[in-house]
Each structure stands twice: as structure tokens, then as C-alpha cells.
């Protein structure tokens, strides 16, 4: 099982702060995972691909082509807004 986490506005778009999924073995990269989510929820898929969205795989910042298979935790983050 992989935990998919949503932060900031993406939490609102997903309607949940996280979901647990059994990712198909065919999903190799972060971009694959996003496309897979988008196929089931196009609106959320678009939000996850919006400019400024950052992704972490197992708590390390990752780019679209980073491997996602075997990940325990994939986080999609709206633009950060600290302080």
C-alpha cells in the first residue's frame, strides 16, 4: 500500500488529506501516478499538475520522472506558504 498525501489547496481538491492505494505495478514514475489519479478524478489530476505544485516521494523532493514504484508515501504539495 502507498499513502498518497495532499497538502494545502490540494487537500481541498482531493477532499481528503490522504488516501491509501494499491498502485498498479505499471506505474513507474511520479508522472505515472499523477496520470493514474487524474484518470479516476480529472479535476484532481489537473490540480496536481498545476504550476507550483511540489512532490515528495518518501519525504524527499522529487521531480516528475522520479521512480514511484515501491514508494511508501507520495506527497502532492500546493505552493508552500510558511512564516
Amino acid at each position: 500500500m502507498t499513502r498518497i498525501l495532499f497538502f494545502g489547496r490540494l487537500r481541498d481538491a482531493a477532499g481528503a488529506s490522504e488516501m491509501a492505494c494499491e498502485l498498479p505495478a505499471s506505474l513507474r514514475t511520479v508522472a505515472d501516478v499523477r496520470a493514474w489519479i487524474g484518470a479516476r478524478d480529472p479535476e484532481l489530476g489537473a490540480a496536481l499538475g498545476a504550476p507550483g505544485v511540489r512532490i515528495a516521494v518518501d519525504q524527499v523532493f522529487a521531480t516528475d520522472d522520479a521512480p514511484a514504484s515501491g514508494a511508501a508515501e507520495i506527497a502532492f504539495m500546493s505552493p508552500l506558504s510558511g512564516g
Binding site: G8, R9, S78, L80, G82
Partner: protein
């Protein structure tokens, strides 16, 4: 040396700063610090509280990474970062950043840089709660511009 604390409870900026200052050495010539408070109004109207979401584990790690980078680049004697998480009522401190250094320029630069990084690079998601509901807050163009200044 750096210390990073995420606090779900209110903290006393005075007491923390006082404790931090006691850690100074004979070589310490400068203590620069910054406290950011939750204001009762924003550009969007009245603010009852700010709610800061974070990513447990990841947020601490990222701020520690940023802190170490600043402390090394500025050759600090010590650096302290305390940041609230969760709900922060108007009037309370949200963030404290303090730097001990031999010279003042390094201490100023470190605190200013660290604040700019916290605004744009720390994994926090902030919303303002007012009488009309909650609003997500994004970093401003000015925030990004300041961050870019430091990257040069």
C-alpha cells in the same frame, strides 16, 4: 549549531530568546532576531486565527536542512528557529528566528535569509480564519523575489 522546534502550543518568544542569548560565547558580538506575530487583520480583512498545516517529519527535516545551510554559509555561532503549527490566534507569535554571530552583518543576513526561506521553501500551508470563513494564503511575489536575492 542549529535548533529547530515546531510547536503546536503557544511559546514565549521572550523566554526562548533569553535562553538562546545565554548560549553566547566570548566571541559573540551579535544577536539578531525576528518574531513574526499573527496579525488581527490582513489584506483580506479581519483574522481570528491562522492555521498552519505541516507535513510531519518532512517539514522538520526541510527546515533543519535550510537552517544548517544558513548557519554554515554565515559562520554562525548558533541559530534558533521556532515555528508554530496548527491554529495560532491573532496576537500570538508564529515564528522566532535568532542568530548568534561574531559580527552583526552575518547575524542580520542569517535571520533575514532564514525568514525568507521559511516564507517560500518551508513545507507549511497557511490559511487565515476570519468571520467570513477560511482563506488559503500563498507566498507573495515579493516573498519569491527576496528568496531569489539570497540565491545569488
Amino acid at each position: 549549531m542549529t535548533r529547530v522546534v515546531l510547536s503546536a502550543a503557544a511559546f514565549s518568544a521572550d523566554a526562548e530568546l533569553s535562553r538562546f542569548a545565554r548560549g553566547r560565547t566570548a566571541a559573540t558580538g551579535a544577536l539578531a532576531s525576528f518574531v513574526g506575530y499573527c496579525r488581527a487583520t490582513s489584506d483580506h480583512g479581519a483574522v481570528e486565527e491562522i492555521v498552519l498545516d505541516h507535513y510531519p517529519g518532512f517539514t522538520e527535516k526541510e527546515i533543519e536542512r535550510l537552517s544548517r545551510a544558513v548557519a554554515e554559509r554565515r559562520e554562525l555561532i548558533d541559530l534558533l528557529v521556532i515555528h508554530r503549527i496548527g491554529a495560532v490566534p491573532a496576537g500570538e507569535p508564529i515564528v522566532l528566528v535568532a542568530a548568534l554571530s561574531s559580527h552583526r552583518a552575518a547575524a542580520f543576513a542569517a535571520v533575514s535569509e532564514m525568514m525568507d526561506y521559511l516564507k517560500t521553501d518551508a513545507p507549511f500551508w497557511k490559511r487565515e480564519q476570519g468571520p467570513d470563513g477560511a482563506r488559503w494564503i500563498d507566498p507573495t511575489a515579493a516573498d519569491y523575489a527576496r528568496r531569489e536575492e539570497h540565491a545569488k
